[in-house]
């Protein structure tokens, strides 16, 4: 029975903004970036987190590794409640949970050579000799398939795929077993994406790693994850085994998301739903108060059912319900 390495319970992260881009006349406004997410991850497992820009997936990742302070809810890592761990104790925690960042130009210090970036990561968490450190670095490079000659380079001299591999090496150098990977394959060429995906797979097997794989690339998530959680505007709307989510999705949003893969034609017979159409495509409008189901304004099922009141009634916001085999969905009219 594999143990659960991470459990997130009703996690919320609200950002407060004073004024400005949201042209509301209120002084302060709360942006519910993550509004009650719950899921768990077992050892040696990959859970994928998907959704469009602005849905909160990166925020969940950052909150789990405590780069953001949770507003409410619980984060339980390896059996311990780390939700309110004081900042002084975070360093020790980070020896076990790490994050690979999306923007490597921002995450790799442009003034440091690769060798120094990796040395720094090791030295922060392990008190070992220089010779031992260099040996470890050599081992890491081999693991991520990076040429030794790159050690003397600066990050800007590396290609996108190589920078990504440095990000992975850095995370591995710490020795963490749980990794939050934020968009690890975005902005990479297709053949390099394939290399990175294979690398993740190899490392997981070799080192027993657990990944929270955050991405908007549905195809890659489908391939690499065991379970997938779909987020929309701060909430998880559907969750289940990867194959189920990709092929037998029952939340209208999930279905639209997957059938929008340009080449892929949805072969599912969907009752009452026009293929891959959603309502208006504006920016997520936090000014408009969201009452009830957040997806209702764009939901084709809501339309086709004659706009039922239950969908937009704030007291009957759809909750994540288990419908069997670990498949959960938050919807009043699942497909």
């Amino acid at each position: 029975m594999t143990k659960t390495i991470l459990e997130v319970i009703d996690l919320k992260k609200h950002f407060t903004s004073r004024k400005g881009i949201f042209s509301s006349f209120r002084e302060r406004q709360s942006i519910p970036a993550v509004d009650g997410a719950s899921f768990y991850l077992k050892e040696n497992e990959t859970v994928g987190l998907v959704g469009e820009s602005g849905c909160g997936k990166t925020t969940i990742g950052r909150t789990i590794v405590r780069l953001e302070k949770p507003t409410s809810g619980k984060i339980i890592f390896d059996g311990k409640d780390i939700t309110n761990v004081p900042t002084g104790d975070l360093r020790q925690l980070r020896g076990q949970m790490q994050m690979i960042f999306q923007d490597l130009d921002a995450a790799l210090n442009p003034k440091m050579r690769i060798r120094d970036i990796l040395r720094e990561a090791i030295n922060v968490h392990h008190k070992i000799s220089d010779a031992e450190t260099d040996k470890r670095i050599a081992g890491l490079l081999e693991q991520v398939n990076l040429k030794k000659s790159k050690l003397g380079n600066y990050p800007q001299e590396l290609s996108g795929g190589e920078k990504r591999r440095v990000g992975v090496a850095r995370v591995l150098s710490v020795g963490a077993k749980f990794i939050v990977a934020d968009e690890p394959t975005s902005a990479l060429d297709v053949s390099i994406q394939a290399q990175v995906v294979n690398l993740f797979r190899d490392l997981q097997k070799e080192l027993g790693l657990s990944y929270l794989f955050i991405s908007h690339d549905l195809r890659v998530v489908e391939l690499i994850s065991r379970k997938v959680a779909v987020m929309y505007l701060g909430k998880i709307v559907e969750m289940g085994l990867a194959d189920r989510i990709a092929n037998k999705a029952i939340h209208p949003y999930t279905h639209i998301l997957w059938s929008s893969l340009v080449e892929k034609q949805s072969t599912e017979v969907t009752r009452n739903v026009r293929p891959a159409q959603a309502g208006s495509w504006g920016v997520f409008d936090f000014e408009r108060p969201v009452a009830g189901c957040r997806f209702a304004p764009r939901c084709p099922v809501y339309e086709s059912h004659g706009k039922p009141a239950v969908c937009i009634d704030p007291s009957s916001e759809p909750q994540l319900l288990d419908i069997g085999d670990g498949h959960k969905v938050a919807c009043h009219f699942p497909l």
């Binding site: 290609s159 394959t185 060429d189 053949s191 394939a194 549905l218 195809r219 391939l223 080449e263």
Partner: protein, 368 residues
């Protein structure tokens, strides 16, 4: 009567000089392609293949040195042929020395002035371009509406601001931006990536160009928005019959929108032909790079029985050290003993391997 293609590029070379490496980066190293009126040509390639630089060379937007050093770009509209690289020879002198080292002497400033003269009245008006990263390609200080209006006044006979404004709003509507009158007054930062991209498309098409060059129009946008932009481009293509050069590393977009496809690698075209032929996985005769590219796309079909994706080993060609032979040699898995010597030492030329289908590979013709 043979129809002249709208755009014909022949043996284009665009090089950049690297001070630190003391060598030329051969971004575009002998590219030839042609687009017929009404056709969409998809250019597929990965980073460093030279596809964006090809587009920028056509538009005369290369500013680093030496830039374009040879080639012809013939743009024919209404029976009138215009050579966009005219007089290039008077500004550039190329000398080939031993060991394939080149010496290039170019009057960069003079050439730039010449390009401005030649491209004036072409850029924006006859050939329009839309770029990747829509948010950073639009002017952040003016509203999107004003930017479109400005373009209309500059490039079309419509000079009155009132009329240009109406046309801009009409185009915002045509690219399916909601509340076009309100959005007219938004700055790019108030719009999402997808909306900015639509605004750019509106700006490009409002001037009714003969040719639209779209450089990675969907990269960086969310999956659902990518599909919407693809839908939009398909609709506009059907409605306006606009000739398009579509550049992308996303093969699904290319296969959806293109009539013909050119695959680029290491600064050259390695395969071209009808989209259905070049991008069909089932099609046997193909350049090995195209085959490998199609096989590496993350999808359920491409996963091996051990659960791996078929990545192409090695890194994309570094266009400073161009090898003697085939540029894909070293990463190619289809080299046979019979041709390996040729692959290593002689670069194949682009030759026909099927009706309208050409590839640059020794597998398909006798190296002798």
């Amino acid at each position: 009567m043979t129809t002249t293609p709208l755009l014909r590029v022949e043996d284009l070379r665009t090089y950049f000089y690297s001070q630190s490496k003391r060598a030329f980066i051969r971004s575009v190293d002998g590219v030839g392609l042609s687009i017929a009126k009404g056709e969409t040509l998809g250019i597929v390639g990965e980073s460093g293949s030279g596809k964006s630089i090809t587009a920028l060379s056509v538009m005369g937007l290369i500013s680093a040195g030496p830039g374009v050093i040879s080639g012809r770009i013939e743009f024919t509209t209404n029976g009138v042929k215009k050579e966009l690289l005219q007089d290039l020879g008077t500004y550039v002198k190329v000398a080939n020395k031993e060991n394939r080292i080149m010496e290039i002497d170019k009057d960069v400033l003079g050439w730039e002035r010449n390009v401005e003269r030649v491209m004036h009245g072409v850029r924006g008006k006859e050939i329009a371009m839309i770029f990747q990263n829509p948010k950073s390609s639009l002017n952040p200080f003016t509203t999107v509406g004003d930017q479109i209006t400005e373009a209309i006044q500059l490039h079309t006979p419509v000079k009155s601001e009132q009329e240009a404004r109406e046309r801009a709003i009409d185009w915002l509507d045509r690219v399916k931006i909601d509340s076009p009158r309100l959005r007219y007054d938004n700055h790019p930062y108030s719009l999402s990536g997808g909306m900015c991209q639509r605004a750019m498309i509106a700006m490009a098409l409002a001037c009714e160009p003969q040719l639209l060059i779209a450089d990675e129009p969907t990269t960086g946008l969310d999956a659902t928005i990518q599909a919407k932009i693809a839908d939009l481009l398909a609709e506009l293509k059907a409605e306006l019959g606009i000739t398009t050069m579509l550049i992308s590393h996303d093969i699904s977009i290319i296969s959806r929108l293109s009539d013909s496809v050119a695959v680029m690698y290491g600064g050259t075209v390695v395969e071209n032909g009808p989209a259905k032929t070049v991008l069909a996985v089932a099609q046997e005769a193909k350049h090995p790079y195209t085959t490998a590219l199609l096989a590496s796309i993350p999808s359920a079909k491409n996963v091996t029985d051990k659960g791996y994706l078929q990545a192409i080993e090695g890194d994309v060609l570094d266009t400073i050290n161009i090898p003697e032979g085939c540029r894909f040699y070293g990463r190619c898995v289809r080299v046979t003993d019979k041709i390996s010597d040729s692959c290593e030492h002689r670069e194949p030329d682009l030759r026909e391997i099927g009706p309208g289908h050409r590839a640059r590979c020794w597998l398909y013709f006798d190296p002798v």
